[in-house]
């Protein structure tokens, strides 16, 4: 059989199986176990409703537990162990953490990560909000949106190629093939190896991620902006508010929850991103970040202990966001 047909069949089975689960599990719950009719109708409905959330969330909890929570627990345990030659491992307490904190590269990574965490989400969200607001007001807005969104469609590896070309430097005297140096030289500068100049090189790496993530922020925020009830905006116009006031006083507060979601999501991307750093500088010239440090330890040094400790550090950094989200979820439920 042609592979395309086989592929199609596997797709149908995979997706169909999934739909089937939700359909049948609900049917069985309602018809077989707790039919909402007969003498115990009321009790049955209550019981069915107590079980149903878990039915709805079952596959998600299973997948999250197996594919994410389990590795996290395993990593947590690994971070207190070290490999012994000949297989197996032994408990070493906090040795891995002590070793990690003692490394200059780790401290550099923490510092850089802080910069990334502040600059990238802020810039991406700001540009995304700007793009969303501006493009919503013009006729060719959706076309413009597509173009700004396009970097999202490019893999991190592809993006690194694109920006390497921009930051490229040729010796003085020959034609520059990197845009940045071409402009720099046109204004009378000497060609610079941008990626080696700290701290600007970190910023130049951030630009790549901002370039990619702005599209994400824009799409989500644009949906939120369209969801704002017309009446509130119209009321403000009648009151004589300027466009700036409408935007900052009326619109932004109303989409604040969405802005927070976007900010959170990009923050999490930042914590995980390492492809860009790996492909462009591999953390050299003082551009190391935590995720790349972890990758280095795991797959270059084969030091699972310290690699796991670095991973736990990344997860620790996310805890403020975690707490904040719990509080928020509680508030929504009242």
């Amino acid at each position: 059989m042609h592979p395309a047909i086989l592929g199609l069949i596997t797709i149908v089975i995979g997706v169909g199986g999934c739909i089937g689960y939700f359909w049948f599990s609900n049917v069985i719950l309602d018809r077989v176990f707790f039919p909402p009719s007969g003498p115990n109708a009321g009790r049955n409905i209550n019981r069915a409703n107590a079980i149903r959330p878990w039915l709805f969330m079952g596959p998600a909890i299973l997948a999250l537990g197996l594919y994410l929570a389990y590795p996290v627990v395993a990593t947590f345990l690994l971070s207190f162990q070290t490999r012994v030659p000949g297989g197996g491992s032994e408990f070493v307490g906090l040795d891995n953490y002590v070793q990690m904190i003692g490394e200059a590269k780790f401290r550099e990574a923490i510092f850089n990560n802080m910069l990334w965490l502040i600059i990238v989400p802020a810039a991406s969200t700001a540009f995304g909000l700007l793009a969303a607001q501006l493009t919503d007001r013009i006729s060719w807005g959706s076309f413009a949106k597509s173009l700004i969104f396009m970097p999202m469609a490019i893999s991190f590896v592809g993006a690194s190629v694109i920006w390497k070309l921009i930051y490229d430097a040729r010796p003085a005297g020959s034609d520059q093939i990197g845009v940045l140096n071409a402009i720099w030289v046109a204004f009378g500068g000497e060609p610079q190896q941008w990626l080696t100049i700290s701290p600007w090189n970190s910023l130049l790496l951030m630009v790549v991620l901002i370039w990619i993530q702005t599209g994400f922020a824009m799409v989500i925020l644009s949906a939120a902006l369209r969801g704002i009830p017309e009446e509130t905006v119209e009321a403000a116009i009648v009151d004589g508010a300027s466009p700036w006031q409408i935007f900052f006083r009326i619109k932004v507060p109303q989409i604040m929850p969405t802005i927070v979601v976007v900010w959170t999501t990009i923050t999490l991307v930042v914590l995980k991103v390492f492809d860009i750093v790996l492909a462009m500088t591999n953390g050299q010239w003082e551009t190391q970040v935590l995720a790349n440090y972890m990758y280095d330890k795991l797959f270059r040094a084969f030091d699972w202990g310290v690699g796991s400790a670095a991973a736990m550090t990344i997860m620790l950094l996310v805890s403020p966001i975690l707490v904040w989200n719990v509080i928020n979820a509680r508030k929504e439920m009242r």
């Binding site: 709805f56 845009v179 990344i314």
Partner: protein, 378 residues
Amino acid sequence: MDNIAGKKSSLTWAVHISVVVLVALWLFPTVGLFVSSFRTGDQISSSGWWQSLSTQESQLSPIRIEGDETATGDAFVIEGTLISGDTTVSAWGTSSREPNAYEPGETVDLGDGQTLTVNDDSTYVLTGPETFEGTRLPRVFMTASSPPVWTVENYGTVLFTGTAAAGIGQAFLNTLTVSIPATIIPILIAAFAAYALAWMEFPGRALLVATVVGLLVVPLQLALIPLLQIHNTIGIGKGYLGVWLAHTGFGLPLAIYLLRNYMVGLPRDIIENAKVDGASDFQIFVKIILPLSFPALASFAIFQFLWTWNDLLVALVFLGADDDSLVLTGRLVNLLGSRGGDWEILATSAFVSIAVPLVVFFSMQRYLVRGLLAGSVK
């Protein structure tokens, strides 16, 4: 009144101009890559892509004379053209020390009775008293201006040559087989879970929401070995089922997080009215929530599709790296060879691989906008 109208139109102009600037900034890097994908490797590394549109005067790499000699009387002559195409030579030389020693048309004595003439159209005449056979012919250094040259050869290399030709179609199918279920399955699962987390009452709800957010940050690299171990133990091994499950697991937190956030914002009355009318949660979900959440579903679908399409790591680990199971990104990356790094191939590969996501995005966008409009009618 006029005043207000004038202000408004100048503001509209400002908006248009700002968007043009923003779009130009965002597009500029990609355009550079796109233009580069139509240039040869030597061109890319010798001049900026923005110069590829204009006629360039540049110092060319040396070209060695080659060709068959003809014997005329007591002399041997080799004639030919150094560069095909519309090139104008402004200076030339035969030594790396003085690459611009001579004018076009000048006849130069190379020693041993040999003479060389190079004309401005890069035709040359090399004469000598003895046969050139078995001797090394001279190199010619030229400063020449050449009009822009474009090539689709890179696309030919990426799509149709060598090992790529046999596998690119297969890789394309593999990628589709991976990414379509890996997009739909997590959305389905996440939509149900998001509804439960947004609108159903049960103990431990806030904790679950927090867990989902916490899991968003788990670095993928950590999960690879334990998960492949599980797959090998329970007998899934390497295959499509494994990749789908992996992508589902890794994509779920973001899906649940985004969808739940959207669903919480849906108007409470609609759902409560439906409940009063006796609709079950399943009916409410299918008939009300799903249609209303269409924009959010569509935007997440796009993200998840892009992510699975561009993914290399998960596919390599859970599907395998042999010829029959390679995905498109894997195939393109392999083209770069063991030591990699040819810009023209990189640029072309990048465009081949983003073609499908772009088509998907542009076609989905119509639905996205329609969905957004439907969603805003409350």
